[in-house]
């Protein structure tokens, strides 16, 4: 092994702390990256993985400082310790030899400068090239990262680009100076799955072409399996396990890694398991039946004398489904597919276009036409259908104690005496696995997972029959997500709840749902039982979603051909699926209870 070249970056005993009296947030971390290699640093929130990347670039947040450690970086014939380099010398490396990609491209790019100006700045700082040459290099890089029209991208502002293109611009900024190492901090977490697959593929091909090393910071084991050569697992600032991906994911040695791998749900395994349990007495006793649901937003008016320019926006088109009592229907789709609007219309938070019908049949056997309810009947309906939101940080008032949050729905509906409400709140806390002793605390005292439990307890306070869950786990860590999903399952059995589950996360859906409806551009494109839909997907968009979804399975590589076929707009789909404008083909039954939107 003595003939092996020294690694590109060798970090030893890196320790970062927010103050001498506080415990370190990164504690004695050591790892190395060879030239051209991909190292994934995996961990849940608070594991110190982001701070590790920042410490190397000398851009730690205010208050944090490197206590000790070395980071030997060998590139361009120089060998320097990134951690002890003077600020000016480190700045010469940052951007030139080391590029960085951030999670949220919208906020990581300045909204006031054109994309071109921001990318060109890297070359202005690190090279003596003339302006014309810099522009040419930028345009070439834009073309390389997949901008269809580099010239236009150069002059565009970040808010004019889609999320995927913004992240491509961010990548262009990181690689324009041809660095030896790119540090990517959750580069695809903010993107839709199909976009994520394309961006990951781009990173891989760039890396292969330029021979740069990649330090990939992520919480997603699926991304790790798709991208990395080696992996380092972090928890609470410490290195748990490191090694080749095959060794660490295939046969995890450390208990924490094992738990992490086990907590990550997988589409294939879940769908197979669902086959036996599938097919509950279909439509025999439907709690919710929706048909002809449409939502059209009027075109935006721009002034007093400017009416009706631009076309109306069709957010939801012709959605229909039936939810049998005690089962779970998942509505799957990417951002902008209309899935949340569907939920809001069913909850009467938004008005549906005329002609729609939403029939709700409670335990009392009484049929209600949800869209025409008003006054007391609407209030009573609301008690029967409750919602769990995506972001448990934003969904709980920071100024109310947990007890107030849990008793407020009871007070609004005038149920129980104040004293009994308090008992009820305590019971709810126990039910979601929290201690009733914490009722007097405020939400900020709880972690994300605990907050989501509180949000679920609030939704349960009125003893509803149907829970509408809008991306209930996408803001949570994997291991916490697994616990919350378990809670949902337990509640379903204990209380006979029915779920309308809205998500973009296919493994979670495969895990939770009995029935799945895939939405794209406002329409359901494929609908059926979990096993059929994931076992035998027919629609190109469903196939793209499944192909794009990264999973912690070593043998499975992202199939970009499938992604490319289905991820585009409806008019790019192959026949018989494609359509233009409002001229969509009907849902056709390809197998019993399995529907696909295609021309017969």
């Amino acid at each position: 092994m003595s003939s092996a070249p020294p690694p590109l970056l060798a970090v030893t005993d890196l320790t970062v702390s927010f103050g001498p009296a506080l415990p370190p947030v990164v504690d004695g971390l050591s790892f190395s990256i060879d030239a051209g290699q991909t190292l994934a640093i995996v961990g849940e929130s608070g594991s110190g993985k982001t701070l590790t990347g920042r410490a190397l670039m000398g851009i730690l947040p205010r208050g944090a400082q490197v206590v000790r450690g070395r980071a030997q970086f060998r590139a361009g014939g120089e060998d320097s310790d990134l951690l002890s380099l003077p600020a000016a010398a480190l700045r010469r490396l940052c951007g030139k030899r080391i590029g960085m990609i951030f999670q949220e491209p919208m906020s990581a790019l300045s909204p006031l400068h054109t994309v071109g100006a921001q990318v060109a700045e890297v070359l202005e700082l690190h090279s003596a090239l003339p302006a014309a040459e810099i522009r040419a290099r930028c345009l070439a890089t834009f073309a390389e990262v997949g901008f269809p029209d580099p010239g236009r991208a150069f002059a565009a502002y970040p808010f004019e680009l889609s999320g995927g293109l913004r992240q491509r611009a961010m990548i262009a900024m990181a690689v324009v100076a041809e660095p030896d190492l790119v540090i990517a901090d959750e580069p695809t977490t903010a993107l839709d799955v199909t976009t994520q697959a394309q961006v990951l593929d781009l990173l891989k091909s760039l890396q292969a072409r330029r021979g740069m090393a990649l330090m990939l910071i992520t919480h997603d084991l699926g991304v790790v399996c798709a991208m990395a050569d080696r992996v380092a697992v972090m928890r609470r600032g410490r290195l748990m396990e490191a090694g080749s991906v095959a060794a660490v994911i295939g046969a995890p040695g450390h208990a924490y890694t094992r738990a992490l791998v086990a907590a990550a749900p997988q589409v294939a395994a879940q769908a197979a398991a669902a086959t036996e349990a599938a097919a509950p007495a279909a439509a025999a006793d439907a709690i919710l039946a929706v048909s002809g649901l449409n939502k059209t937003y009027p075109p935006r008016r721009r002034g007093l004398f400017d009416r009706g320019r631009g076309a109306p926006v069709a957010a939801v088109r012709d959605v229909a489904f039936t939810l049998p009592r005690g089962s779970t229907l998942a509505v799957v789709g990417e951002s902008g597919s209309g899935k949340t609007t569907v939920a809001r219309m069913i909850l009467r938070a938004e008005r549906a276009d005329p002609g729609a019908r939403v029939a709700f049949r409670g335990r009392d056997g009484q049929m209600r036409d949800v869209l025409t309810l008003d006054g007391a009947a609407l209030k009573a309906f609301r008690a029967r259908v409750q919602m769990v939101f995506q972001d448990p940080y934003a969904a709980l008032s920071p100024r109310m104690t947990v007890a107030e949050i849990l008793t407020e729905p009871l007070a609004i509906h005038g149920r129980l005496s104040p004293h009994d409400r308090r008992d009820r709140a305590a019971a709810l806390m126990r039910q979601v696995g929290l201690s009733p002793d914490h009722l007097a605390r405020y939400p900020h005292a709880f972690s994300g997972g605990q907050r989501q439990r509180i949000a679920i307890a609030r939704a349960l306070a009125l003893d509803p029959e149907l829970l509408v869950c809008d991306e209930p786990t996408s803001a949570l860590d994997v291991s916490v997500q697994a616990q919350v999903l378990d809670l949902f399952r337990a509640l379903k059995d204990a209380r006979g709840l029915s779920y309308l589950f809205i998500s973009h996360n296919l493994p979670v859906v495969a895990d939770m749902a009995d029935q799945v409806a895939v939405m794209r551009a406002g329409r359901i494109v494929e609908q059926g039982p979990v096993a059929a839909l994931f076992g035998n997907p027919v629609h190109p968009y469903t196939r793209a979603l499944i192909a794009a979804s990264p999973e912690p399975v070593l043998t499975r590589r992202l199939d970009l051909r499938l992604v490319a076929q289905g991820a585009g707009p409806p008019h790019d789909w192959p026949a018989p699926f494609g359509y233009r404008g409002d001229d969509a083909p009907p849902l056709t039954e390809v197998a019993p209870t399995h529907f696909v939107r295609m021309a017969a």
Binding site: R54, M57, G58, I59, P61, R62, A88, R91, R92, L93, C94, G95, K96, G99, M100, F102, E104, S107, A108, L109, S110, P111, L112, H113, T114, E121, V122, L125, H126, Y157, F159, E160, M170, M173, R302, G303, G310
Partner: protein, 340 residues
């Protein structure tokens, strides 16, 4: 962009029209204005000549017409006794109290007011911008505390007290002139280089006095805004590119923090005009502030009406300037009206 400017100006014209109605109604609302009092006195005297004079005044100032006609005549959209002659035609009306045309009363004061406010705004921005930026970048260091201290003093000291102190020490140490906006020798003289220089010398102290409070508030706001922006991810991105810290601050977060700063121009102007009434009295400044005060007291309604209109106009111009600056600074605003 041209369309944007035209739209803004169009909106401004409408606002001005609405404001003119409000001003007219408010100025005419309280009974017993200067002219009616005069007419009542003439009538009460019972002499034929006086009664005739009263009748003449009634007709001359269209008091015998309905209110809405009076308004339109004032604006210049309705033929008055002397044909179309209102604000639109440049006829500002007659000051009854001073017995001179309003344009003659207001004349020079108008331009001095504009100049005083312009210099004050420039002073506010020239001082607040660097001070606020430094206070934010070096937050919680001695320079931040110093800026904060100066700011609080500026906010807490009454203007007129500051005026007296500055006059005293300004005259003592720097030989600055005391009181007024020009030396007596130049009063009612045509504009000349020497007079201009004299006015500029007289402006120094009033500009500081009137501007200090606004400047102090702005330092606080800029500091808070910039502190927020400094923690944003795009600043980290810039640093990760290897941008030197000073350039990273100037190029990225400072430009973001400027938005509310620029939007303040419109709010600053009326505050300065009305806030400077007291100071103008104390310092003997020949601005429209004191004229407005006496006009309102004696209900000299052509005079007060015009001055109020003028202040509104100034505000709207300030708003327009700040809107245009914002659109120029921030592409998100520029493209807000455009199709995606």
């Amino acid at each position: 962009m041209i369309l944007f400017v035209l739209r803004r100006i169009w909106a401004m014209v409408w606002t001005l029209a609405v404001v003119s109605v409000l001003v007219f109604v408010i100025v005419n609302l309280p009974p017993g204005d200067f002219l009616s009092n005069q007419i009542a006195q003439l009538r009460a005297s019972g002499e034929a000549a006086s009664v005739a004079r009263a009748e003449f005044l009634m007709r001359e100032f269209a008091l015998d017409r309905p209110m809405w006609q009076q308004y339109l005549i004032w604006v210049g959209l309705w033929p008055g006794p002397g044909g179309f002659s209102g604000l639109l035609q440049g006829d500002l009306g007659w000051s009854f109290e001073l017995n001179r045309p309003v344009s003659a009363v207001v004349g020079e004061a108008l331009w001095l007011t504009v100049a005083l406010n312009l210099f004050t705004v420039l002073f506010v921005y020239a001082v607040a911008l660097p001070l606020g930026a430094i206070a934010a970048v070096r937050a919680n260091t001695w320079i931040d505390y110093l800026a904060t201290f100066v700011g609080y003093i500026g906010l807490a000291t009454p203007n007129f007290l500051l005026a007296l102190i500055l006059y005293h020490y300004g005259a003592h140490w720097f030989g600055l002139p005391v009181g007024g906006l020009m030396s007596n020798a130049y009063l009612d003289q045509p504009m000349s280089i020497a007079k201009l220089g004299d006015i500029l010398g007289h402006l120094i102290v009033p500009v500081i006095v009137i501007g200090t409070a606004g400047m102090a508030g702005m330092v606080r706001r800029l500091r808070a805004n910039l502190l927020d922006e400094l923690g944003k991810p795009y600043v980290t991105t810039a640093l990760a590119k290897g941008v030197p810290p000073a350039r990273a601050v100037l190029r990225y977060p400072l430009r973001m923090a400027l938005n509310p700063f620029v939007a303040d121009i419109g709010n600053l102007l009326p505050g300065l005009v009305s806030g400077s009434v007291l100071v103008s009295l104390v310092m003997g400044l020949q601005t429209i502030g004191p004229i407005l005060l006496s006009a309102l007291r004696s209900q000299d309604y052509f005079l007060s009406g015009f001055i109020l209109m003028f202040v509104c106009f100034l505000t709207l111009v300030g708003m327009l300037v700040s809107d245009l600056l914002l659109a120029w600074l921030d592409p998100r605003i520029r493209y807000a009206g455009r199709d995606r």
